[in-house]
Amino acid sequence: MHDLLPTIPEQLSKILSDVHFFVPELYLSGLFVLVLLADLFIGKRSEKYCRAIGIAGLIIVFFKDYEQYSLAEQAGGAVPLFSGMLLLYNKAVSFKVIIDLLTVLLMIYFPWDNKLSTHKKGLSDLYTITIGSVLGLHLMTMATNLLSIFLAVEMVSISSYLMVAYRSESGFSAEAGLKYVLFGAASSAVLLYGISLLYGFTGSLDIWDPKFMVNLTATGIAGVGLALTLVLIGIGFKLSFVPVHFWVPDVYEGAATPVTAYLSTVPKIAAFALLINFVNAFVAVVPHPDFDFRLVLSAIGIVTMIAGNFAAVAQQNVKRMLAYSSIGHTGFALMAVVTYSPQGLNSLIYYLAVYAIANIAALLMATYYTNQTGAEKVTEYKGLGFKYPIVSVCFVIILISLTGLPVSAGFTGKLFVFSSVYATYQQNHDVWLLALMITGAVVTVVSLFYYIKIPLNLFLRKGALPFEHDHSDKKIIALSILLTILIIFLGLFPHFLYKVL
């Protein structure tokens, strides 16, 4: 202990000097408290205020992200914070920006779902939890220490459990929550065990610590393999790749639709950031001789693409179908991860951003139909295209984007991912990359099978039941149109987004 004393002031000043790199997260913490307090003090009508405060706060955080970005740039692109607990680098900020903006979008969307908005306890708590979750996500994007990784993951997980189980009056919601929490808890236990092993092998928690890699290389293949597998399971739980994807369909189906929209996008993006942080440490300096991350992740990617897309084909419930499709998209995005190139990272961020926008839009419109007619299954969409033409047309365009056809952002995303993989393939002729690309192309066709079922029912089939004309939900329509235009715009001019990433 005495040995440490002399260094304490120095460390403290270091920590304090790092604080100004940490402004958005501090603001988020403040915002969390603020929303919590607002809920407590305003009482019954707190819902609107909480939402307004939350949105406004997130927008402020978004601007702070920008300041953080320029700070990181000034500091040379990458800054280790708090003695290597976190690593602030420009791409991490890109992830954060996307997370914040998407969360704003989702916060707008939350109360529009009839089922969620009729929850008797109101939505104030949900906003609070969401803000807390975003804080965790921010940490995830920057985490480079096993401790910070675990903390961030748990932070997000706990809030996610709560969100899923939020509608306590619904059996589905409770069931989904139960499955999620048990599966999640087990996964994090596994993760923790893996971390403990890594710690034991290397004697360090900082994955960028030089001795971390050196000691790891000295350890036998079996041990390293086991430890990394366990860690990957933990991260994979957040990413929902095969074989830790089992919770996804049930949870997505059971949760309230906006929550599904949240779960299927924002944590996933952060989890990718985390995966990249983790994997980078292993491949940036010298690739680990025994454990080939590219091979493992490629294989997982291929299996995930296949499993997600093929299983989606038989689904009837729209949310469940989109859940499987999100698994498929995870597999596709893994393709960009294994390039290990800056270009690949850019493509990944772009791909995830447009996927998230499209997925949120798709679920938004699913909400619309459920609100209007109660339809949740594809077959119940019969003939709705003629009744709600605008939303239906938007839906089709969004699905086009999810499939990855022009002219849509999804297509450009796919193009960028393929480009980066190709560029890497051109250099090293790794057959796994080729296999990934081919699988990616094949599952595009497969994905059309199930995506097309929605337009098929909307437009090609005539509805059997006459629905009473509900008052149209103007807000959802407006937001759908906005997102659709955004998707088309990014399909035509992807560089407006790509350049700022």
């Binding site: 929490v181 403990s196 360090s204 049930d250």
Partner: protein, 101 residues
Amino acid sequence: MIGLNEFLLLSAALFCIGLYIVVAKRNAIQILIGVELMLNAAILNLVAFGKYDKINNGGQVFALFAIVLAAAVTAVALAIILNVYRQYKTIDPSKINKLGD
């Protein structure tokens, strides 16, 4: 003298028992207990390894964080299980399967 290996063995055993409980028991609370065992196995590891990391004491610190987080997770999980019980009148996960293909 109890060496590192004994700690490791114990933790491995704990982990396996926990895992077994998680997959085998027909009661959500028991599963939760299994998870706790797994977590404790990991924590045991961390503390044991922490012996060799005197400068940062990373393992010890981590253990503290992990214990707190485990408690948090358990709290949330118990709340959810309670809610499930209200809806389903059971907490056997194999009987709670309205969602599924």
